[in-house]
């Protein structure tokens, strides 16, 4: 259930599902997302521009010339959310090259975590990750389940440009920069795999909420071969 509804500026509704981040809370968020998206598709709610589900929040942005915060808040409070229709989740394998030219933050991580690069990689590759949400840039998956021993804060000043394909970690999460973009995650490697394909108009994002991701390490030679 939504714990609190507030306004995010004058053109968005901020639905807070509580402070916990786990798969159960996230499923609840996704449930609301699916339900409201369906109503928007059927034009049963007007004025909504975008819905952004995340770990434990749902942000609903709207056109202030068509509706307003108090009216949408009431609509959301009165929704009758039924049990979710489970999507068939996938298990996706993603290759990563961790040579120093791709893993940009091993020095920082080694210092902060007091671990060698090899130890960090061992902890990183042994886990299976759960996709909580997709976003920031097109198709970027936010993957939960990073081993406690390699959890680290974001960079103090985000990078202006993180290379496309970069694989990053911060706190208990990992992600993939599907395009070059600014960003503040600790970069440990790079994948040659295309995670967002715009040519696939109906379903451009490879990894979606609920999916599982397994990373595996590749050499630079394999990286170059796969990148062709």
């Amino acid at each position: 259930m939504i714990k609190n509804i507030s306004n995010l500026g004058d053109a968005a509704v901020y639905c807070d599902f509580g402070p916990e981040v786990n798969e159960a809370v996230n499923s609840n968020v996704i449930n609301y997302f699916n339900h409201i998206a369906n109503l928007v598709n059927k034009e049963k709610i007007k004025g909504i521009n975008n819905l952004t589900p995340s770990y434990n929040k749902l942000i609903i942005s709207f056109d202030l010339s068509l509706t307003n915060f108090s009216s949408l808040k009431e609509t959301i409070q009165n929704l009758n959310i039924k049990k979710d229709i489970k999507r068939k989740n996938q298990r996706i394998k993603i290759p990563v090259c961790c040579d120093n030219e791709y893993g940009l933050d091993f020095n920082r991580l080694s210092k902060k975590l007091n671990l060698s690069k090899d130890e960090i990689l061992k902890f990183f590759f042994e886990k299976e990750y759960f996709c909580y949400m997709t976003g920031f840039i097109a198709g970027m998956p936010f993957l939960g389940g990073v081993n406690e021993k390699i959890r680290c804060d974001r960079l103090e000043t985000p990078r202006v440009k993180v290379p496309q394909g970069s694989v990053g970690i911060t706190e208990q999460f990992s992600n993939i920069y599907t395009f070059e973009s600014p960003g503040g995650w600790n970069i440990i490697g790079n994948t040659p795999k295309k995670i967002f394909k715009k040519s696939n108009l109906k379903d451009p994002a490879l990894v979606k909420p609920g999916d599982k991701v397994i990373f595996y390490q590749i050499s630079k030679e394999e990286y170059i071969k796969l990148n062709d």
């Binding site: 995340s54 942000i59 949400m133 911060t170």
Partner: protein
């Protein structure tokens, strides 16, 4: 398809196609995009007698130099812009914003630069020949989405125009003046209380200057450090245009039209909808003064913003 097109003789700094933007894709990380200054975008379409949702050329700082190939068109430029029209008899005519012009085969539009602001708009009567992607013709260069393979325009490219003749040409001119006031009105952000009392005070009392790190994604500001007393990271969550994030270095970032859809830095405030066009046009070096308003005030100010826009859309001369 006509054979009327602009040939790009000089592309300019960041020349893209933009419209009202792309919705219903935040959940897969595709941002809204669209003209960064929506009012000037709409006015450009009005001046060329288009639907207000037609795609137009957006340029930043130095604009493009374009030559019309075949046909005859009607165009208008909006913003705070220096431009010339190079006529076929080699006469250089100084262009004025907010009025429509006729351009003949072989003539050129030379958009020299914006003046105090960053962005300007060029609209063509009838619009450009473009393919929509997810119901929008906006170019998102970060995700390479939209016309021109999602890239900004470069030299020698062609931009095709839908109509090759003047149909129902109506000369239009409006008396619009851009506002350059540096007061940006905001609503408290969802993480306002992450900041120390002193930081909250400083945020509304001191000025913040626009740095050179400005693009369609966002605007980094410089100024007094904003001390965070709770946590400099939050669990990543959905973002919107106008959100003001403060990373651990204490320097605010205002998110603009190509912003990331999700972010993990605390939000101290959100720019109100009525001030989004204005803030995006503030150029590096400008000092910003933030002013707090309530949600109710913000809604009233948006109504006034819309009425002011509509006033120009009803103004004929």
């Amino acid at each position: 398809m006509t054979n009327t097109f602009f040939e790009i003789l000089r592309p300019g700094v960041n020349t893209t196609m933009q419209d009202t933007g792309r919705n219903h894709l935040y959940h897969i990380g595709v941002t809204i995009s669209g003209a960064i200054d929506q009012r000037n975008y709409k006015l450009a379409n009005f001046l060329t007698n288009n639907s207000l949702n037609e795609a137009v050329i957006e340029f930043a700082y130095q604009g493009p130099l374009l030559r019309l190939n075949s046909g005859k068109i009607n165009f208008a430029i909006t913003g705070d812009v220096f431009f010339n029209i190079i006529r076929n008899n080699s006469v250089i005519e100084e262009g004025k914003c907010y009025q429509s012009y006729i351009l003949n085969d072989g003539e050129q539009i030379d958009i020299l630069s914006t003046k105090k602001s960053i962005y300007g708009y060029l609209s063509i009567s009838g619009g450009f020949e473009l393919e929509e992607m997810w119901k929008s013709c906006s170019i998102n260069t970060k995700a390479k989405i939209g016309p021109n393979n999602g890239k900004k325009y470069s030299i020698n490219e062609k931009i095709f125009i839908k109509k090759s003749t003047l149909e129902n040409f109506k000369y239009r001119k409006i008396g619009y003046k851009n506002s350059f006031d540096n007061i940006v009105r905001v609503i408290r952000g969802t993480n306002f209380d992450y900041f120390s009392n002193e930081a909250k005070h400083i945020f509304f009392k001191e000025k913040f200057s626009v740095t050179r790190l400005v693009d369609r994604m966002g605007m980094r500001l410089d100024g007094p450090n904003l001390e965070n007393i709770v946590n400099t990271n939050i669990k990543s969550e959905g973002l919107i245009r106008g959100a003001i994030q403060v990373p651990a270095d204490g320097k605010p970032i205002i998110l603009l039209s190509d912003h990331g859809t999700i972010g993990g830095y605390p939000k101290i405030a959100i720019v109100i909808s009525a001030d989004l066009d204005k803030v995006a046009q503030l150029s590096p070096g400008t000092k910003i003064q933030f002013e707090e308003v309530s949600l109710e005030e913000a809604e009233k100010l948006f109504k006034k913003y819309t009425e002011d826009t509509n006033k120009y859309l009803n103004e004929h001369s």
